[in-house]
């Protein structure tokens, strides 16, 4: 079942690839079909997951590389637990959104949708791998489609941004690979479950703190953590809308997921010692990101920097190393994916109508673009942590989880929420409220079905999670408890 989920998008890619040139326009339907299929499977898994059962379920496992002479074995192993399953659902959901929002992508739709589906496969693979080598392969596979998507369909300095993204990720991956190899060689297996059951690793080919640091650098770039974040504003700003959605919505979560799944879960003793450091970096990321956001004049860059700040909450919750904080961190990954995904969708839709993202040039759009305004304000309110919407649930949980351990850092996080209100509301005030400048007077709002469906769907889910989060939180809690047990 999981293999089907992970490779269904690749099958779609293959189908798109063999599509004759004259049927190029049908590529999007294939992409939509494949992504909807994935969403269906992911939701079915979500419903079928036995919350009282074993930690990892729906396991697909085959030995891949094994020999009597090698001191280790590599397997093809997929499986999900409470931590990864919601992220699979998130990935599948946001891919559908990304496909729809790219409905009229312009040049070379065939290749575009093919790469988008490759991206989905790699992401689904990352979240469901139970073997470190497989995890790493999927983690790296994502670079390929991202590079092409940004550099071909992007805007602005797209080649530069694409390279920067690849370079940063690759830089981090090198460290991560060292960390993974060190873990695997010591244990004789790359099986995550086996590694978990082995008990804490103190001394491998490298000292445990070094492995931890290598992994943190790799995942910290992805998350991102200040000062490793500078690829993010460029990549986001120059990527096409749907790719920004995937980047902010899902790709950043690979970093958070890696920290929870590998760093904290496999090296709990080091994590305990590093708790304050992680928290300090988290606090710095939150405040630094928020303050930098205040200064942005480009709408998309503003959302990108706010993303940096919001991902700081993931690390903050993780640094507390308790159930509440870790569940908050996982929730924050999920809700940030929805909210920032929606924000990027909206920025794209506004840009398509105004052809500028400069906040100074925009103004008074509410009267001309009522639907887009409502959705953007909704997304903005969710982003600034308005209770009853999803963002509040995760942020409040992070604060409640962090405060007992790092009091001052939690208060810094709360300060970040104030700054979030400032940058969101100032943006809304300048872009949407006020008198429309003459050049916007003739703007006509026509919202196509492929714009309306994803925005309404995202709004519905954001509201649902905000009002009734427990089904999701309970699932996350089930995935977090084994990690916390290893910490104590």
């Amino acid at each position: 079942m999981l293999s089907l989920l992970v490779f269904l998008p690749l099958a779609g890619t293959a189908l798109v690839a063999v599509l004759p040139r004259r049927w190029e326009g049908r590529a999007r339907w294939i992409a939509l079909g494949a992504s909807l299929g994935c969403l269906g499977i992911a939701l079915a898994l979500f419903a079928a997951y036995d919350r009282g059962g074993p930690q990892f379920q729906f396991v697909d496992r085959h030995v891949w590389l094994s020999s009597d002479v090698a001191p280790f074995s590599v397997q093809y192993a997929l499986g999900v637990d409470g931590l990864s399953l919601p992220l699979l659902v998130l990935t599948a959901f946001l891919t559908v959104v990304a496909v729809l929002i790219s409905w009229e992508i312009g040049p070379r739709p065939k290749e575009y949708f093919a790469w988008l589906l490759v991206l989905e496969s790699s992401l689904l693979g990352v979240f469901s791998s139970l073997d470190l080598v497989l995890f790493f392969l999927f983690f790296e596979l994502e670079l390929l489609p991202m590079y092409f998507l940004i550099s071909i369909w992007g805007t602005g300095r797209r080649i530069y941004s694409a390279w920067k993204y690849v370079f940063f990720t690759f830089f981090g991956s090198a460290f991560m690979l060292v960390g993974i190899l060190a873990l695997g060689l010591e244990a004789g297996t790359f099986d995550i479950r086996a590694l978990q059951e082995m008990g804490p690793i103190r001394q491998a080919v490298l000292p445990a703190p070094a492995i931890f640091a290598f992994l943190i650098i790799g995942f910290g770039i992805k998350l991102p953590v200040v000062p490793l974040h500078t690829w993010l504003p460029d990549a986001h700003t120059d990527a096409p809308t749907a790719v920004s959605v995937m980047l902010a919505g899902v790709l950043l979560k690979m970093g958070g997921y890696g920290i929870l799944r590998l760093c904290i879960s496999l090296l709990p003793e080091v994590a305990r010692d590093a708790s304050l450091w992680l928290g300090a970096f988290a606090g710095a990321t939150i405040l630094y990101g928020a303050l930098a956001t205040l200064m942005q004049r480009d709408l998309k860059r503003l959302i990108a920097y706010s993303s940096v700040s919001h991902m700081g909450y993931v690390l903050l919750g993780a640094s507390a190393l308790g159930t509440v904080g870790l569940v908050g961190a996982s929730m924050q990954m999920f809700t940030h994916g929805l909210i920032t995904g929606l924000l990027f969708v909206m920025v794209g839709l506004v840009y398509e109508r105004t052809h500028t993202r400069d906040i100074g040039e925009l103004g008074g759009l509410a009267a001309r673009l009522p639907y887009l305004t409502v959705v953007m304000v909704f997304a903005g309110l969710a982003s600034l942590g308005l209770p009853s919407l999803a963002g509040f649930v995760s942020e409040a949980t992070v604060f409640l989880g962090t405060f007992p351990r790092h009091q001052a850092l939690a208060v810094m996080g709360v300060l970040g929420v104030l700054l979030a209100a400032a940058y969101i509301l100032w943006m809304v005030q300048r872009v949407f409220w006020g008198e429309a400048a003459p050049r916007w007077q003739s703007l006509q709002e026509k919202v196509a079905w492929w714009e309306r469906v994803p925005t309404l769907a995202l709004m519905t889910v954001i509201l649902l999670v905000g009002v009734y989060p427990s089904p999701l939180m309970d699932l996350f809690e089930g995935g977090i408890i084994p990690i916390v047990e290893r910490l104590t």
């Binding site: 200064m295 604060f399 005030q429 409220w433 809690e477």
Partner: protein
């Protein structure tokens, strides 16, 4: 035949207006998809119907509380989120305090909605207006009913959101959009304290349930330092919502919204929330002398400061706004002097006459097209009913016997006299200021000759339509009579009776000399206003030129706006810290990285020259990475 209110009916008080909001929103969405026709009046009827239901059920709830033992009806809370050890439940806390507030909120809101039908009749945003008003009322009712601090915080923020949306209702106006953002940000600054307090108390007690926290405090399980910090943090949030010094700056600007919104904000929702929150957690304040003193000091300072500012405003709604701030200061000062019942009693009476004053100002605006009192004058002749209602409300506010404000203000003064003498003197000075600015308002608006109003079409002011006058008449009747409800100490017993322990709150003692002196000071203030603005014995300009430094400071509102917007927001945060970070980010961190990136790109280009094509570069990079990693491992562990 009496029957205690069941839980479902209690929840319906909150859910009815929220449901009305949801229905109007979904209908608008359906319309934007081209389904169904636009029928704006339905949104008003739906809102009014929902709030009427809330009011009726609130009265049932109030009756149930009056009849119940211990003046509280308890319902089992429901689990919302639980991740061990975090347990958040949502529950409905029905006791004397919340029952009174529910009735006030629903009652005032109902009259405002009826009035709005006339006032907003021709506005293109009619449906949106009533949707937001429904949400506003529902959120406030939810806040009042909350039994858990996190649950309270949810509705607390929703109340803030609605005030944002309604203050900025006419979003095309520059002043409105600025005022809306300011209101949200300033109140959120206070919420920083509230949220921190919430985190603190959760760490200390592991509880977020209000009842459980009070119990923990009463049994001494919470240290006095923690208690003081907690109460202080909560008060920061309350000061933001209730516009207490120094977080009062948003409220005068908030009049940019439609006038009925101001009536609602100033009377029953939003600003009442802060006072309510302190009252809700009153037992904790009663246990912490430091917190109590803070509340009393801030309340007294606010009462006097806002009264002074009310003297120099020329916009009728701004005078009323500062008046609200000042009266909220009274309530806080009362709470800070252990006077739970007098403070809530004043909140109760104030809701009616302040709502009426705003509806009166809206009626005047309807006729003259302006809020600037310098362009009014002589309106008593043209609008006799509005005049009559406004005078009643103004005198009630000043505290003239036997109107509503007299009874509640007198209790506040009495308790201050017994508990904190300096609060008494501050509040008495406040009575004089109140009388002075309300007298000035009345004479400038209604006396003398008409000065032309705001531009075209307002040459001949006229009385407002019946749909606006009827709710005003109802509020006027309440402003006269509602002070009598506590004559038999009924309200006091209800409030004090539902406290978890006896002896927490102090009861005021009525004294004739106190009542006489407050009425005397009030009459004196109105008299001075009459001399200056009615008879013009001394011209106002002359007074201004004599006291010019004070007047200059007051007209700049003690430089508070300059401090927040100019110095802190623009100077310190935007031009200072954020700018420096931005520079550092672009030139420092990113510059360094770009330097490395540059080097890599040069290498990459070399590779490309050999291999041509980017996929290969990537493949080469991977290979390189594996080699590097292997070398590292071998070096570390040969």
């Amino acid at each position: 035949m009496f029957r205690e209110i069941p839980e479902a009916a209690a929840w319906a008080i909150v859910l009815a207006p929220l449901g009305s909001f949801a229905i109007i929103s979904l209908a608008s969405l359906a319309r934007s998809l081209g389904l169904g026709r636009s029928r704006p009046p339905h949104s008003a009827w739906l809102t009014i119907g929902a709030i009427t239901a809330s009011l009726v059920l609130s009265l049932w709830a109030l009756d149930s509380v009056v009849q119940a033992d211990g003046h509280a009806v308890s319902f089992e809370p429901h689990r919302w989120v639980s991740i061990a050890p975090l347990e958040v439940s949502i529950g409905f806390r029905l006791d004397g305090l919340s029952a009174i507030m529910l009735a006030v909120v629903a009652g005032v809101s109902l009259s405002v909605q009826v009035y709005s039908q006339g006032y907003m009749a021709h506005d293109p945003g009619y449906s949106r207006y009533f949707a937001f008003m429904s949400l506003f009322t529902g959120a406030m009712l939810g806040l009042v009913a909350a039994s858990n601090l996190l649950q309270l915080f949810v509705f607390w923020e929703l109340v803030g959101l609605c005030s944002y949306l309604l203050i900025g209702f006419w979003f095309q106006r520059d002043a409105a959009r600025r005022a809306a953002t300011k209101a949200f940000l300033v109140t959120r600054l206070g919420d920083l304290g509230l949220l921190s307090a919430l985190l603190l108390i959760w760490r200390e007690t592991g509880e977020l349930d209000i009842g459980a926290i009070q119990e923990a405090a009463l049994t001494g399980a919470i240290g006095s330092g923690v208690l003081a910090f907690f109460a202080g943090g909560v008060f920061a949030g309350a000061a933001g919502k209730s516009a207490q010094f120094p977080l009062h700056v948003w409220l005068p600007d908030a009049m940019e919204g439609p006038t009925p919104v101001s009536a609602l904000i100033h009377a029953a929702t939003m600003v009442a929330a802060g006072v309510y929150l302190v009252a809700r957690l009153f037992p904790l304040y009663a246990l912490s002398e430091e917190a109590l003193t803070t509340v009393a000091v801030i309340g007294s300072v606010t009462a006097v400061m806002a009264g002074l500012l009310g003297l120099v405003m020329t916009d009728i709604k701004r005078v009323l706004a500062y008046s609200t701030i000042s009266q909220l200061g009274y309530m806080m000062a009362g709470l800070g002097s252990l006077g739970l019942a007098p403070a809530i009693f004043h909140l109760f009476t104030h809701a009616f006459f302040k709502a009426l004053l705003f509806l009166g100002a809206g009626s005047v605006n309807h006729a003259t097209g302006t809020f600037d009192m310098r362009q009014m004058g002589g309106l008593a002749r043209y609008m006799p009913f509005t005049f009559l209602f406004t005078v009643v409300a103004a005198l009630a506010l000043v505290g003239i016997f036997p109107l509503a404000g007299f009874w509640s203000k007198d209790e506040l003064l009495a308790i201050a006299w017994d508990e904190r003498r300096w609060v008494f003197w501050a509040l008495l000075a406040g009575v004089f200021l109140t009388a002075l600015y309300m007298g000035r308002l009345l004479f400038l608006t209604f006396a003398g000759t008409y000065r032309g109003g705001g531009g075209e079409g307002h040459g001949h002011p006229h009385e407002s339509p019946l749909v606006m006058l009827v709710p005003m008449a109802a509020l006027a009747a309440l402003s006269v009579g509602v002070g009598l409800v506590n004559l038999g100490k009924g309200m006091e017993h209800l409030l004090v009776g539902s406290l978890p322990e006896e002896g927490l709150a102090v009861e005021p003692h009525f004294r004739w000399e106190m009542a006489a002196s407050s009425v005397g000071v009030g009459v004196l203030g109105v008299g001075v206003a009459w001399l200056v603005y009615g008879l013009k014995v001394v011209r106002a300009e002359v007074i201004r030129s004599v006291f010019w430094p004070l007047a200059a400071v007051l007209e700049r509102k003690f430089f508070m706006d300059d401090l927040y917007e100019g110095v802190i927001a623009r100077g310190l945060v935007l031009r200072g810290v954020a700018w420096a970070l931005q520079q550092g980010d672009e030139k420092g961190v990113d510059g360094l990285v770009n330097g490395i990136g540059q080097a890599v790109r040069v290498i990459a280009q070399r590779v490309r020259m050999v291999q041509a094509g980017q996929v290969q570069v990537y493949g080469a990079a991977i290979a390189l990475g594996v080699v590097v990693s292997t070398v590292v491992i071998l070096l570390v562990n040969p």
